[in-house]
């Protein structure tokens, strides 16, 4: 028996046509991050009664009077027992304007990898500072991670304004220092907001005590920041995930290349090159999950049909004939080492880039970087957990990489331990490589100077 009410004709069902913003928060408990996150969830009515009841119950058990909103996100036994956050927690909330995915990451030094993980998919990062302390080492580290991961929007939330008398001068000095620092790292957009997460000033509702501030609240900013960069600015990149060949009576000759458009726009009739073979063809059809369309763009999952019968398989890249990346076996990159065992010069690894995994060897580790002050340590020999550094890798087969600055999705890769599959290192293809690639199309305005660590 069908129970789907087919009378629910199109147009009468609220299927929630809102956009999606992925953002990350960085900061320590001391900065009031949990309070900020708790307030965003609570004031946007995303914490439900049974969750709040559970938090109140747990807080009482620990002898705390007020509900500890950190317990909303810290769910693992070890976290509850030790009162710390040990991992990235994903939280979900919605307002009538937008759906949000929040990657809530702990701010301690040893958890750089968690911040890097949270920032890797974020379109916006909220960096918290305590108004009494201003920009400290940890703030600089958070700004550096956001810059390194190319998070397009950064919010500086100057918290605990209530403890500095809500004074504009305090806020202005911190905002100026941070903006200058983050700007010098290449962060393209910075929005500073004075808040008190505890009192609720400028988190969801505008502050009644800071009339000198005319900007948006944190939530207003999250709701209105543009999430859709114009994909037509970027060259199209289509890593082939899977070849669809039904070979059925109904579809005897169908051959489609399934994948998610990593960047740019694809149109029927586009002349494309397939890498690494270098062969060209024309897009004959685009199947967009049940509909045949003339145009599709990142990050849509589609199936492409080409005019010519080429030998294409998983791991190949389809790109516009005039704007394809140059495949290379020598990769220079900035990396964050995420495994507990170190990464050493000479180590044999697997390199996973889009849908392709190849053997590789770590040729050099030219430098390690201290995130607090961006000082360089030449030739460290190896990288330990949470280290940021530069590496040079030689791959067994050519890879069609872009510079990470041009494309987060096709400029990123993982190094994997071939013995047990451990994820070792998160890599971002560096600018030296981008210069070597004679790519005429993307004349990026991105400031690469901030990258030359």
């Amino acid at each position: 028996m069908s129970t789907t009410n087919t009378a629910a004709a199109e147009g009468t069902v609220d299927t929630g046509a809102t956009s999606l913003l992925r953002f990350a928060t960085a900061g320590s408990v001391d900065d009031g991050k949990s309070t900020l996150v708790g307030r965003l969830l609570h004031d946007s009515k995303s914490v439900l009664a049974d969750q709040l009841e559970a938090v109140e119950h747990a807080s009482r058990n620990r002898g705390q009077e007020a509900p500890d909103l950190a317990l909303l996100t810290d769910g693992l036994r070890a976290e509850r027992e030790q009162g710390i956050t040990i991992d990235v927690a994903y939280r979900y909330f919605a307002t009538p304007r937008r759906r949000f995915i929040l990657a809530d990451t702990p701010g301690h030094v040893q958890y750089t990898r968690n911040m890097v993980t949270g920032a890797s998919t974020a379109e916006l990062a909220v960096v918290l500072v305590d108004a009494r302390n201003g920009v400290v080492e940890q703030t600089r580290r958070h700004a550096a991670v956001a810059a390194l991961l190319r998070v397009p929007h950064v919010v500086l939330a100057v918290n605990k304004m209530d403890l500095v008398g809500y004074r504009e001068a305090v806020f202005a000095a911190i905002a100026e220092e941070f903006t200058a620092y983050a700007g010098s790292l290449g962060v393209p957009e910075i929005t500073a907001i004075p808040i008190s997460a505890l009192a609720g000033d400028n988190v969801v509702t505008p502050s009644a005590t800071m009339d000198w501030y005319g900007g948006p609240t944190v939530l207003e900013h999250l709701e209105t920041v543009p999430v859709v960069a114009d994909p037509s600015d970027d060259p199209a990149r289509f890593p082939v995930q899977y070849v669809i060949r039904p070979q059925t009576a109904e579809h005897p000759d169908y051959r489609g290349y399934a994948g998610q458009i990593a960047s740019g726009v694809l149109r029927v009739g586009d002349v494309v090159t397939v890498l690494p073979s270098g062969r060209t063809s024309t897009i004959e059809g685009i199947d967009a999950l049940g509909r045949s369309v003339d145009v599709a763009w990142a990050p849509q999952s589609v199936t492409l049909r080409l005019a010519d019968d080429l030998d294409i398989s998983r791991g190949d890249l389809i790109a516009p004939a005039g704007a394809a990346p140059v495949a290379t076996q020598d990769i220079e990159a900035t990396v964050c080492h995420v495994a507990d065992r170190p990464l050493a010069v000479g180590q044999r690894v697997l390199l996973k880039h889009t849908t392709r995994t190849v053997k590789a060897i770590v040729k050099e580790i030219p430098s390690r970087l201290t995130l607090d002050d961006l000082s360089q340590h030449p030739a460290p020999g190896e990288l330990a957990a949470n280290d940021i550094g530069r590496i040079v890798v030689r791959t067994a087969a050519p890879l069609a990489l872009d510079a990470y600055a041009e494309s987060r999705r096709t400029g990123s890769f993982l190094l994997i331990d071939p013995a047990d599959g451990t994820t070792l290192t998160a890599g971002m293809a560096g600018t030296a490589f981008a210069e070597a690639a004679a790519d005429p199309a993307p004349e990026s305005a991105a400031d690469d100077e901030g990258w030359d660590f």
Binding site: M1, T3, T4, N5, T6, A8, G11, T12, V13, D14, T15, G16, A17, T18, L20, L48, A49, D50, A54, L72, T73, L76, R77, R80, I86, D87, V88, Y92, R98, R99, R113, V116, T117, S120, T121, V227, V228, D230, S232, Q241, Y242, I244, T248, H251, G259, Q260, D287, L289, W297, P299, Q300, S301, L350, K352, T354, T355, R409, L414, G421, T423
Partner: protein, 311 residues
Amino acid sequence: MTTVASIPEDLDNPYALSHLDALESEAVHIFREVAGEFERPVILFSGGKDSIVMLHLALKAFAPAPVPFALLHVDTGHNFPEVLAYRDRTVAEHGLRLHVASVQEFIDRGELRERPDGTRNPLQTVPLLDAIESNRFDAVFGGGRRDEEKARAKERVFSLRDEFGGWDPRRQRPELWQLYNGRHSPGEHVRVFPLSNWTELDVWQYIAREKIELPAIYYAHRREVFARNGMWLAPGEWGGPKDGERLELRQVRYRTVGDMSCTGAVESDADTIEAVIAEIAASRLTERGATRADDKLSEAAMEDRKREGYF
């Protein structure tokens, strides 16, 4: 009737994607990654709404070819008949292959013992791991969502399980960008959660948009139920009602569908998809808090079950 949300300016952008489009493309990408990298994937299919949405996404991901995975149902033996009928109809309609791992058979063989409270949800782990091992499944799709529960909020999309099926939250691989690392040793397998980033409301909005048929019990209907632990449970051979528990006829629906012994109905008049969406949007309780006795066992009930190899 729900109100139509006003469309924010950024959806005027010709390249805008609605949140459902974005979540759909992400889930399809995950299905295709698994198809490309694993030998023997399987979809956990209970006939509940999340597994139905998973199957719908898998069908779209590989069309016009058939889904290249089998289905696996871990059958507690306490099923809603409507859900079993739905399962069998769906399998026939799409020409799928269904494996059933039966809790009852393990109990009959003496390999599992009935719990005093009659709840069989925690008993599913052993038959599940047995089915994974004997069929040599290397990737197992689950419908778990991170918004469901605190321990699940820290789950990866690709979640490595050791040879005992166990989950160690402190030894998870960092998951960056959209690069999923599915490498595993023989005997290990990977649980894959394509709906990780979906919320209950997203699932329902997607069901409405895609006009996906669900088992009838998700919509309001008259049913004989009895109260236990603050929930409305349906009577059945599993052991209810007991002495002192009185059957009453109520207008109810189910927000989640699981083992009959621990899945409660909620009182509801929502008999259409629009009414269900309106009800969920206004609800002040999470779906697990409202309807799952198994999650009320302790503060870390889900984490403990996951560590043992549960879904």
